[in-house]
């Protein structure tokens, strides 16, 4: 009985949070066409989420591509399929690892910062101050972050995929000695534009997810520093879980 009631509480809380996030998303869509358009604030978010995540995304992409080449080479060599190395790396990067790892890194870097910033604003009455000045926090705080994330996560994904393929080429061709001609030829033969689009659809959804979750959690902050820390952790954990779950769902649907 205890387990059942605990399960019920957790489920109830989760459903409530999901409902709150859906409301936040709905309000954002309602406010999307409404003036004033705060271009400067929006560009600041683009810079924060996109430009400032560039380094970490490049690093992640590079090492993912490199390790993919190492691992795939080990497997492919067992049945003499080394020529497929380029295709393997490129397929994994475009369809799966590029979008997922980029989104996870952005959630960890920018999502956590969003939750912490909005959480601090909430507990220091800055969110109340917005309301008192007749400005809706979703319009002013959440909407620009959602938009910036939806635009920037796919762009970062493209960069990550490209860098990953470069990393894979470096390990496969230069370190492991796979023939560069076959590496490139098989890659271009097997990978289609659809594979890249698949990955990009995912990354749009991931970008939206992590921004909605992070903004929602931030605006839920209560108390003081401890409350802000709590929602920041929740934002990152929930974003990661949501990204992985939606990754499976979308992969199953897009195939």
């Amino acid at each position: 009985m205890f387990i059942l009631s605990a399960l019920g509480r957790v489920t109830g809380r989760l459903l409530q949070e999901m409902g709150g996030m859906a409301v936040l998303l709905g309000q954002s869509l309602l406010y999307l066409p409404r003036r004033p358009y705060r271009w400067r604030y929006f560009f600041r978010q683009l810079e924060f989420i996109g430009v400032n995540s560039l380094f970490i995304v490049i690093l992640t992409g590079l090492f993912t591509g490199m390790v993919l080449a190492l691992q795939a080479y080990y497997g492919l060599r067992k049945f003499g399929g080394e020529s497929m190395l380029g295709a393997g790396v490129a397929l994994s990067m475009t369809r799966e690892l590029g979008p997922v790892l980029t989104a996870l890194m952005v959630a960890a870097r920018a999502g956590s910062a969003m939750a912490a910033e909005l959480g601090t604003m909430k507990v220091t009455e800055q969110v109340d101050a917005l309301l008192a000045m007749a400005v809706h926090p979703v319009h002013y705080l959440a909407l620009p972050r959602l938009l910036a994330s939806v635009i920037m996560v796919p762009l970062l994904t493209v960069i990550s995929v490209f860098i990953g393929i470069v990393g894979g080429y470096f390990v496969g061709v230069i370190l492991l000695g796979v023939n560069p001609g076959t590496y490139m030829q098989k890659m271009l033969e097997v990978v289609t534009a659809d594979d890249l689009y698949n990955g990009l659809y995912k990354s749009v959804v991931f970008g939206l997810l992590l921004a909605v979750i992070s903004c929602y959690e931030g605006l839920q902050a209560k108390g003081g520093a401890e409350g802000v820390g709590l929602v920041t952790t929740r934002a990152v954990v929930l974003s990661a879980i949501a990204i992985l779950i939606f990754d499976y769902i979308m992969t199953a649907m897009l195939f």
Partner: protein
């Protein structure tokens, strides 16, 4: 007070948080063009009460009427229209710490007017000058002292020339000299602009020096609302206790800390 216009009227307002009854059938009227000070113990629900005035909190039961409009019945958009008539000075200023002082004061103007940047800049300078600040528009709020932050927050609250100014503990956390300065600033501002002001505080000297009327919040109700002189001579025990600073002998557990 019956002949005066009441800009804000609260009728039988009840509000609780997680079963904790903070406001319990509170009635209060705020006369237009006067300074009303609401006194009460710390954590007695004063901030909660003030947030009801502009619909930041809505009552569980009862009505909040601002110039005849019942906030409880308003749609969000109309509620936002009502809020533009208010200036709200938060306890710690609640300045946006990612914006400069100038951007903070300009914020309501950018949001609610179509003015050009040059005009907004001039108004920002003017409002900062009114609160005795100059040449700090490029500073960040984090670089300012508590008293300066409150002045900037007052300048921001005045930006849209509100009809009603709400002050949440304007002197708490300031040294005695700054307390007098802020008190004088509030007095001159309110008299010059001829606005309605509501101040919540537990600062008796501030109340007696500024107030046209004083209301006393005790256990979720306003138990007295009168001019300062009759307030001082009030026969009510909680008020005499408050004025004399005697510790409360009857423990009231339902009044948990809220600010």
């Amino acid at each position: 007070m019956t002949d005066k216009r009441h800009i804000i009227r609260l009728e039988q307002v009840y509000k609780s948080f997680n079963g904790l009854k903070v406001l319990r059938g509170l009635d209060l009227v705020i006369p237009q063009g006067e300074i009303t000070v609401i006194l009460g113990r710390s954590g007695g629900g004063k901030s909660v009460l003030l947030k009801h005035f502009l619909g930041l909190l809505l009552p569980d039961q009862g009505h909040v009427l601002v110039d005849g409009q019942n906030l409880v019945a308003l749609a969000e958009r109309q509620l936002f229209q009502v809020r533009k008539r208010f200036g709200y000075l938060f306890q710690n200023g609640a300045l946006f710490d990612s914006l400069t002082v100038g951007e903070n004061v300009a914020f309501p103007l950018q949001e609610h007017t179509n003015w050009r940047w040059t005009k907004i800049k001039a108004v920002v300078e003017e409002k900062l000058q009114q609160v005795g600040l100059q040449g700090i528009t490029e500073k960040m709020p984090g670089e300012l002292s508590g008293g300066m932050r409150k002045r900037v927050a007052l300048a921001r609250a005045l930006a849209l020339d509100p009809e009603i100014l709400l002050f949440d503990e304007p002197t708490t956390g300031l040294d005695p000299i700054m307390t007098t300065t802020i008190g004088d600033l509030i007095a001159t501002t309110v008299r010059r602009l001829q606005v309605t002001a509501v101040i919540i505080s537990h600062d008796l000297s501030l109340a007696f020096s500024l107030a046209d009327t004083i209301a006393f919040l005790h256990r979720g109700r306003i138990i007295a609302h009168t001019d300062p002189e009759s307030f001082r001579n009030s026969p009510l025990e909680p008020i005499q206790q408050f004025i004399a600073g005697r510790p409360d002998t009857t423990v009231d557990n339902t009044q948990k800390d809220e600010d």
